[in-house]
Symmetry: D3
Subunit: 263 residues, 6 copies
């Protein structure tokens, strides 16, 4: 069920019955010479809408701009600074609880959002406003990702390329896949971007001239479909897992210490 | 040109040549029993994308959730509180200036956003970061609105109904137009919601039981198309008007006072 | 009853009996070559004190500096930026509730404060701290204003000139009324300051060289007295209207949705 | 010269010639059974206006509500919390610098404001926006205060009583002076309100049942006049002292360290 | 008992029995040519740890960096700006209450922290989160300080020198005591740093070239030991005084006014 | 060189020659039944002080309380919430740059601080204030950690146990190592704490009853010494690597787009 398409009276039965919402969160940022800047929010939206469709849970409109300052040297990258992003998301979720919702999944497709969505979730959890967790699509299917690609690439690689081939093929510049690979950094390992254990870079451009990592030529629409199907399935399971929980089991355990417990 | 669909190298020539961007801003909130909650962001997106298409100026993805606390008693209304909304928008625009953009139009379709977008715009103007102004679609064509409808309604009325009939007809519950009119408040005048000159209400529900104002049965897709065409035309003119200005003419006039001028 | 003049024990019976306070809010900003910079706070204070005198409700000291950045190019204009203004006003009202006050009227005479006072009022209403509304004096008597002046002018026009003639005549430079009119902008219409529907200016100086609008020569002390009497009367009515309300009727209606209602 | 009474063109020569402004800051808070709640802002305003009159420097309208949470248990005490108070004052001063002002005296009559005004002044000094200092009237004439009163009282005592007798005698309940003394705390010494060196109270009511300290019966209008004259004289000297300084001498000394100096 | 050294299960009995914690707060800032920059936090830590040892109350790790912008022109001075310092301390204390603690002593050795710790304490007291007070070591033994030194000096003087001689003698440059005295300002009186009653300086360097005040040659380790013993004793008494109080007696008195009391 | 022990004149030559400082950052939080709550800050301090000693670079006092809300159900855990922690650290570093420092290493021993220190570092980098990076000791020696322990444990495991055995052996409850292991969670794998790809827990207690992970019986002081030596060596290398860089090479690459570049 997609909130943006519904008239308000038609939501009443949902709120009577369920208290879960999916919130797609992406970014609008460079994804190399071959992919559209909307890549991440297209993926997040695609997965969240599909899972909502299959399960009947509620999906909200997509947050299209996230935390992407590390891509700022590339034309067109949009971003909101972390404090403002967190505040916007937190306010949005707090206000949604006025309808009786008390559990949320941030369906996320941008690595740069992860820590901020978790920080927001922790705050909401800490004061027992709601249970909100972040779900990053590719972390739900690590085996499949490893199976399909030798070098999946954390940004703009074959993994994301395949997904967009499947979801919005017309936006992929297929004639630039080789150029994407050759102009970027193919291998990104444990030591990449580090010196003596410290992450020493802040901007993507310090690691890759064209903004991307991995071997893009390894992507196909079929692989994209496989990824999409597998991740959607994981997301559907997660929805059910959360929806079925007792709310109190999702909230923090009480901390009992002497005096406090006596109150 | 739609930023979300472009790969970053393809934006370079735009940033070489132009410094204007359109940012669609809407809301996700109740629009009565007959219209989808996404009404406002659908309208903002529709107009901004169309104007960008016709003029060649850049359009960013849509901000789908705005300032709508006054609709909170209706199921599904989403909102972000004013300080967080302003901060998010301001950060988003400031960061966009890193690509050389220095003038922005908030293509807006939600009355509740107006003052906040203007406040953001004033701040950006005040410190000479950028020239950003708010454009509310129906304020650009007051005569046409008055001509087409006897009671256009400031929220969920025939004006917005006609627009959605044109833009996303399948989302309109045409069988509920009469119900929308009869369950809401048709006439909204200068004295409505006021006592002795003061606006005394904070929530829409204090004025209208089903959330809408005006006579929805007066809407047709044809009128919607007329509105859309006329407003798009105004927006295109506004784009050109801004793009052609000298940047210094858009910035604040200097204030010369004695000592200060001597520095 | 004026709070600033009372010793604390003498307020006890008021707080036992009533829970309303009037808070005059103005600005200190240019009002053309003929009017003092204190014009707005003089008007707000005059009306609030008079209404308090007549009705017996409590009036606090005046907030003399408001949100006036749009007049910054004119010597002497003082202002506080919007976030700081709102925060100050909100803190002031929240703290006043510690004495049992739970309803407030911002007696306002400066257009630039309106949206900010409403935002503060909405926040206090939203968390059920208090019912605080903004009352702008000239919005309470639109017919009289229209009757008395052909071009009342939204800023520094004959309307405000007449009021200061009545309240503090010695501060009006009567010999400059013609100059005020001729050096400013007389007619301010729906299209003024707009392009294709968008408000394109941020500073008053972009519209008027001497800072004022309207025909100041149309002002007389007698008209000022009429305005003052009529507006005071409206304000007194508003005080009674609010004071007589049940507090619960001033608070937000509950939003009942399924799960939430079950709690 | 009083800013609130001037029309903007009449301020131009001042700003051409001078860059100093006096800003009266007080409070609205309980001052015992005998004094009005406006005591502090009446004193601040009285002194600032008089010094401005005598010297020709500019005086702004008065900030009537300050930081007085420690008096909250007494009816009518108004206050703004410290962060909001500082932010309001800082914004007000920063914006005043747009007219060429670069030095400010906070003419203060409320002890609770001192540290906050100094914090604001330090911030403005630190980033070289302006030189703003706090002047507390009674700290300028300690010998006279000690000479006139055996127990001057830090709050609501004979010192403040005498001042209000002089400035607004009709607001003093002279028939309650004895009651004020007997119902409060007469002697306030180094150990008062302390335990083992720590200040252990946060609220005035913990020290005095009626809110005041000192022996109020010792006050006379004549003593008030003496205080007023003496303090005004000090303030006039301070104005000249500041106005005559080179701006650079009022700004922070440079900190030269190796690398930094090489830049 | 020192929290940093304990394993969590060993704290359970403390939290069962007691609700007091000591939090040492100092600074890292210049203390003249003869004392280490850590002087203040060494003193705070020394006293708090010793008092905790003797009484059995809990002591937390030390906050080593405080509010010291006034020493910024001297190499190595570290500081955190006031809003950030207050926010850090407030968050730290609020979170400690989750273990049942409800009363805290900030064992402080830096004058620049005083007002900020009190502001934090007031906020925690105001919303009844906890009772937290600031204790400045030398304010607990004014007679002894006056007895031991003719010019104790508020910063880097013989008082602090003696304390460090006692606590960390190896860090004192005893061969520079004379230089410290001669290069600084020996006498610091009521008029120092003031003009016509106003404190006119913001930076220590405006008063003393080498950063210190007083006669350092007057310091000995024996005097340091006397100070340490006497102050520790005061602190121990304060701990007992607070620990023995009823919590309700430490909280604000209720303010009863008419309507509010009727609720 | 340890800043806290130095007198200010003795720092001048350092600031003339170098612009790097090490800032130890830890936490005070539960580390199981066998380790002290100060574990993380003891490790951070130990490594930073040692590396500073060996290399001659400057080390500041330790930040002892970090971001540890996830351990709040265990007695004694201290923490500061993320916004306040970041603000405190950012202010501290910004102010240190006044001495000419422009590069910083956060010597960190607490996983919960990582993202926050990076966010602070990014902000400082973004506005070109300084180059500040986070270094987590165990990430610098992953091979050694894997070699020494079969299950190193991310929190309170043998890795940290061995370090404290080496640095402060008397604080380790060696008789509880077995209990630590058996009462906690030994194996922490990729799937731990996750459901369908999402991290579903916010509190450590949801994963481990006694707060720790890994097999503590595998720790020895000798292994601790090996870890300490190896990590110190890495840190020394990192210091040199940063100190030798041109400052401009550490700052963000310029983003050249058309118009912007023309300015």
């Amino acid at each position: 069920m997609y909130l943006g398409d519904e008239a308000w009276p038609d939501l009443e039965t949902y709120f009577d019955r369920e208290s879960l919402a999916l919130i797609p969160v992406g970014s609008t940022e460079q994804h190399g010479p071959h992919l559209p800047e909307g890549t991440d929010h297209l993926i997040a939206e695609g997965l969240a809408r599909e899972a909502a469709e299959r399960t009947g849970y509620l999906c909200t409109p997509t947050i299209t701009v996230g935390v992407s300052p590390h891509h700022r040297q590339f034309h067109g990258t949009m971003w909101v600074d972390p404090p403002e992003f967190r505040a916007y998301m937190e306010s949005l979720v707090r206000n949604l609880t006025s309808h009786g919702l008390d559990r949320f999944i941030f369906v996320n497709a941008h690595g740069g959002n992860v820590q901020h969505l978790r920080e927001v979730g922790r705050r909401l959890h800490g004061d027992e406003t709601a249970y909100a967790i972040e779900w990053m699509w590719d972390e739900s299917i690590p085996e499949l990702v490893e199976e399909l690609f030798s070098v999946p690439g954390p940004h703009g690689g074959p993994k994301e390329t395949a997904m967009i081939m499947h979801l919005a093929g017309e936006l992929v510049h297929e004639d630039r896949l080789r150029e994407a690979r050759d102009g970027g950094l193919v291998d990104w390992g444990r030591e990449s971007g580090r010196q003596f254990g410290a992450r020493t870079f802040y901007d993507a451009i310090d690691n890759t001239e064209n903004g991307v990592l991995g071997d893009q030529t390894d992507a196909t629409p079929e692989k994209g479909e496989q990824l999409f199907e597998a991740a959607t399935e994981q997301l559907c399971h997660l929805c059910d897992w959360i929806a079925e929980k007792e709310y109190s089991d999702l909230m923090p355990r009480t901390h009992i210490s002497g005096r406090a417990s006596g109150e």
